[in-house]
Symmetry: C2
Subunit: 677 residues, 2 copies
Amino acid sequence: MKYIFIILISSFLANAQIKTEQLNLMPWPQSINLTDGNFVLDKGFKLNITGNPNPRIFIGATRFLRRLDGRTGLFFNQGFVTGLNEVPNAKLQINCAQNGKIGLHEDESYRLEINSGKITINATSDLGALHALETLLQMLQNSSTSYYFPTAVIEDFPRFSWRGLMIDAARHFLPVDVIKRNIDAMAAMKMNVFHWHLVDDQGWRIEMNKHPKLTQLASDGDFYTQEEIKNIVKYADERGILVVPEIDVPGHGTAILTAYPEIGSKINFDKTTYSIERNAGVFRPTLDPSNPKTYLLLSEIFDEVCPLFPGKYFHIGGDENEGKDWDSNPKIQEFKKKYKLENNHELQTYFTMQLIPMLKKHDKELMGWEEIMTKNMSQDAIIHSWKGTNEGVATGSSLVNAVKNGYKTVLSNGYYIDLMQGVESHYLTDPMPKNTLLSAEEKARILGGEATMWSELASPTTIDSRIWPRTCAIAERLWSNENITDLGSLRKRLKTVSFRLEELGITHIRNKAVLLRNISNNQKSEALEDFSNICEPLKIYSRNIGGTEYQMYSPLTLFADACTPDASDALDFDAAVNQYLKNKNAENQVLVTDFLKKWIGLNINLMELSANAPLVQPLLPLSKSLSDLSGQLLLLIDKKQSVNPSVLKDLLEQCNSKNHADVELAVYNSLKKLIQA
Amino acid sequence: MKYIFIILISSFLANAQIKTEQLNLMPWPQSINLTDGNFVLDKGFKLNITGNPNPRIFIGATRFLRRLDGRTGLFFNQGFVTGLNEVPNAKLQINCAQNGKIGLHEDESYRLEINSGKITINATSDLGALHALETLLQMLQNSSTSYYFPTAVIEDFPRFSWRGLMIDAARHFLPVDVIKRNIDAMAAMKMNVFHWHLVDDQGWRIEMNKHPKLTQLASDGDFYTQEEIKNIVKYADERGILVVPEIDVPGHGTAILTAYPEIGSKINFDKTTYSIERNAGVFRPTLDPSNPKTYLLLSEIFDEVCPLFPGKYFHIGGDENEGKDWDSNPKIQEFKKKYKLENNHELQTYFTMQLIPMLKKHDKELMGWEEIMTKNMSQDAIIHSWKGTNEGVATGSSLVNAVKNGYKTVLSNGYYIDLMQGVESHYLTDPMPKNTLLSAEEKARILGGEATMWSELASPTTIDSRIWPRTCAIAERLWSNENITDLGSLRKRLKTVSFRLEELGITHIRNKAVLLRNISNNQKSEALEDFSNICEPLKIYSRNIGGTEYQMYSPLTLFADACTPDASDALDFDAAVNQYLKNKNAENQVLVTDFLKKWIGLNINLMELSANAPLVQPLLPLSKSLSDLSGQLLLLIDKKQSVNPSVLKDLLEQCNSKNHADVELAVYNSLKKLIQA
C-alpha cells in the first residue's frame, strides 16, 4: 500500500509540465518542441544501438549510463554497452546511419525524440548521437521522488564546424588527467576541436625519441610521453574531438633553443645562450631562418610528432616574433638581401613556407596565428585570428582580411578566457562579422572559433576555474543559432550547466574551497568565501605586470587564484541595485542594504580571521574600504542622513583600487551607480 | 614607518614560543627538543644539498619548496633544485652521506636541527632527508603576518621497516593520477611500501604484450599500460617508496579465466564459462593446479610483469580459495592422489611452490596472504597476516604462527580501512603482539604492517576519503615509538594533518562537497552537510549485503559515499555528553541541548530540501528519528519534564536503525549514554 502511494505521488509530481524556458540546455539546440508528457526513469532503463556507427558510441553510451546513474542513484541494471543491438527492446534506441570521422565538416546533426514510453535518437553518425546523449542528460528533470525526461522532439546541428578550446600546456604543464577532464567537458558542450599548445618559451612538452635533448634540457621533467599523447588523442576521438597540436615557431623559441642554441638567431651563441624562460611575456629567442639546420631539425621534429596526431591540421604558432635578434644578426641580414626579402615579415613568410611541405608530407595543413598571413603566404594555410583592441588593432580585423584574401580562418579574438573578463563579452562575440559584407564563399571560410586558455597564471589546480563555465557560453555561440543571445537566459542556464561539469571531474568549484582553506589556514570562514564572491582577479594582463612578478614556479594559491570572473554575489548585488534604482520602495531598499550590512560584518570577520592567517592580510585594505563605504551608504539609505559627497567619492575610489591582493572589487560599478543616483 | 611597525609586530608574534604538544607532527618523531627561538621564512629562503645522495633528493627538495611556497605565498626566489651544492650559503642545508636504495631495512633516519638563522638536515641517505623535509613542513607555524619554524632538534627513525598501504585497483580501476596522489600522501606520512593489488575477479589491470587477451577480454578497457606502471614505480621511487605488485592466484581468478578458460578448474569449460565478475565476494573460479598450461601462462606473465617492478617482493595473493571447483573436478582429484596431496591446502601449497622459482628467476621473493602458510611452504615466502575476528580466528593469530614457523610477516589484520571503522581501533593495533613471548629473532621477522584499501565500494572520486586521514594513524603506529598512543593527541593532530593532505591533491574533503552537491541537486544546504557529519557508512561488510546490491558499475554517489568514519560532529557531541554527564551545570547542558536543537531544525531543512532532491528522501526516516528523540530529550533536559522511558527507548532504537541510506547515526551511543544516565 505504501509502495503504491509512493508511485502515485511520484507519477503525479513527475507529470508537472515543464516549459521550454525552464530547460537548462547549453548549447541551445536549433529546434526544440516540448510535448505533453514525461519519460520516467527506473532501474530497468536500458539503451540499444543500431546502424553502422563507429565503436566510440559504445564507450559513449556506457559513459552516458554511468553519468545518469550517478545523478539519479537508480542502480541501472545495464552495465557495459559493447555491441550493436544488444537490447532490442530497450527504451532508448540509438540509431547511427554511418561511421563518424573525426575532422571538420562532418555531419554532426541529430534528432532526439522523447516519448513517454520510448526515446529515439537518430543521427547520421555516432558524432551526432554523442551530442544527442549530452542533450538528453541536460534534459533530466526531477520531482521530489523521481527522475524523468520531459517528452520532446529536438532537432539539432552546429552552426560552425570548428568549435575549439586551446589549452596552453607549455607555461604550466598540465598532467594527463587535467587534459582528459577538460576534453570531457568540451564534449559535454558539443565542442569538437582541442588545440594543444605544446611548446613555448617556458617548456617543450613532447617526448622526442630522436631529439631527447628537447625534454632533457627544456621541460623540467614535465612533458607528455608519446604514449600519453596517443592516449589523449584516442580519448578525444572517443568523444568526437579532433586534436590540433601546436609547436610555436620561429618566435616563442626559448625552449627549443635551450636544447639547440645553434639554430638560434643570436650571434656568438654558446651553450648557455638560452635557458628556459621563467617569466611571462614576449621574448627575443627566435629560430634562425637562414640556417639550414633549423629546417632539418624542424623537419625531423614534424616527422616524429605528426604521426601522433591523425587529424588534418598542425598549428605552427608564428606569433609575436619581433625579429630583434634577426635585426641584430648580420648573417641573417645578408640572407634577407640574398633572397630579396624586404622585411622581417617576408623573412618569416619565407620561413613558414618551408614548413608547408614538411607538414604536407604527413598530409597535414598548416595553421598559424594571424601573423603568418603575409602577401606571399600559401592560401592553404589556416589563419588563426587573435588580435584586437588589446593589441591595438580593430577587433577581429584579421578574420575579415583572411577570408577576403582566400584563407580559411578561425576566430579567437574575443575568446581569450585567460584575460579574466566576464562571460558576456565572450558570449556576444560572433565569428561572423557584423557590418561587413561577405560573399557566401567568404563566409564559408570562417570555420568557427576557439576559446584560448593561456596558462601563465593557471596551474593544474586552478585552470578549470579559468576555463569553465565561461567556455560553455563560447560553445553555445559556436553551435547555436546566432539569434540565441539573451544574457539573462545564459546566466540562468549557466548555473546548472556549471554545476553539472563537476560530474566530469572539472574542479572549478571544489578547488576554490581548497584554495580558501589554505588561505584561511584551515579556519572555517564564511567571510572569506563571501568576499571571494564579490572579488575578481585583475583583468587583461594587469595581474603580473611586466610578466616578472610571478615566475612559472610561483605559488598560484592566493586569493586571486580562488576568485573568478562573474563573481556571483556581485551579479546579485547589481541586480538589487538596478531594482532599487528603478523603484526605491522598502522591499527593494532591503535588498541593497542587506548586502551593505553583510560587508560591514564581513570586514570584521576577515580581520579576526587574519589573526591566524597571514594570507588574509592583503585583503583587509579592500574589505575595509568596502566596509567604510557600506557604512556611509547605510547612513544615506537607511537612516536618510546626509553624507558628505566628497567622502563618498573618496571611499568609492578606494573601492576601485587594484593595488591589493591582485583582485578588484566586482561591486565597484554597482556601488558607483548607487552613489550617482 | 608602517613597514617597520609591521616587522616589529611580526617578529614579536613570531616569537611567541610554541610547546611540543602544540605541534601537529605525524608520525610523531622518536625525539624532539624545542629550543627557544624561531626561524622566520622570507622570499629569500633557499636550500642546498651536499653529500652523495640519490638524485631523487633534488626532485624532493624542489617539491618541498613549492609546497612551502604554496602555503605561505612568499614567492621564493629559488626555482628548481637540480644539483649538489648549488647555493652553498643557503639557510637550509641538507646533507646525505649516501645514495638511498628503495627496499626494506634501509637506514631512513634523519636529524633535523632548526636554529634561528639556519636549518640543518643530516641523514644517512636521501630517504631520511626526504622524511626530514616532511617533518619540517609539519613544523611550519605562523603568526598573523609571518611564517616560521620553531627552533628544535629532532632525531628520528622508523620503528618498523614495512610501512605499507595496499590499494585495490582491480575492483574499481583507479587512474594513474589517483595512484600518484596517494603515493604523495604516503610519503608525507613516511610510509614506504605501496602494495598494488592489480588483479582480481573483477578485472586484470596490467597491459600484456604476449597475452593481450587479458586486457582485451578482462579489463573493460581499464588497465595500466606498462609505461604507466614504470612511470608510477619511478614516481614512488622518487618519494622513497617501494612498489609491491600483486597478481592474486589461484583463487580470485575470474578475470584471468575470462581470458584463458582452459586453465580454469571447472570441468567441461567452454569459451563462455567465465566472465568478468560484477559483484563483490568470494567466487569459485580458480586456476587449475593440475594443468601444466597454468604454470606456463603464469611463468610467462611473471616474465613480463616482474621487470616492471625493480623491488624485491612479489605478492601472489593466494587467499580465499575455497577449492569448490577443485573438489568437483575428477581430473584434479586424480592429480591430488598422484602427488599424495592430502587436501586442498596441500594442493594449493603445491601450486604456490611452483611460483617460487618463477619469481626467483627475477630475483623476487614471494609474498602471499596468510592462506599460503601451510606446512610445506618455503620459509622464503613472506606471510601477509589478514584474518581476525571477522573471519572467525583470533586477531592476528597467523602473525605469531608465521614468525614462530620462521617466516617473515606483515600485519594487515586491524588495518582494513575499507571496513569503515573509526580511527582508534586501527591506531591501537600494534604489529608487535602483546602477551606473546617472542624471541628477538622472531620479533625481527615482523616486518611491519600495511593498511589495506579494498575497492568494492570505492571509486576514484571517493577512495581518498576511505584511505585518509585514518591511514595517517596507521602510519604513526608503524613509525613512532610504541608508547605514542594518546587518542586525544591523535585526534587533535589529525585535524591539521588531514587538512594538509589537500595540498598533495588528496580529495577527501573537496569531493565530499561534490557528492553532497549532487545529492542536494545543487541546492545550497548546510543541513545536508551537518547530517553527513553525524552519519557514517555501514561498517564491516554490512553495506552491500551478499555482495550483490552493488555491481562494480553501480553509482557510488550516494549519501553513504559522502559520509566517512569518525563523523566529526558525532565526536564533538560525544565530548559534550561526557562533559555534561560529569557535571550537569548550565553551561554543559547548553553544549548538549544546542546539538539537540540543531537536529530538530536539520530535519525540517532536510524535508524542505528533499522536495527537489530525490536522493535526500532516503535520509528522512533517520533524520526524523533523531529529531523526534531530540525533542523528547529537550523536554527532559531543558524543560525538566518527565518523559515516558519506553518512548525514549523506542525512539533511541529507531536511531540505531541500519535500514536507511546505507548509513548509521554515529551519535547513537552518545544518545544512549545520555538516556541511561
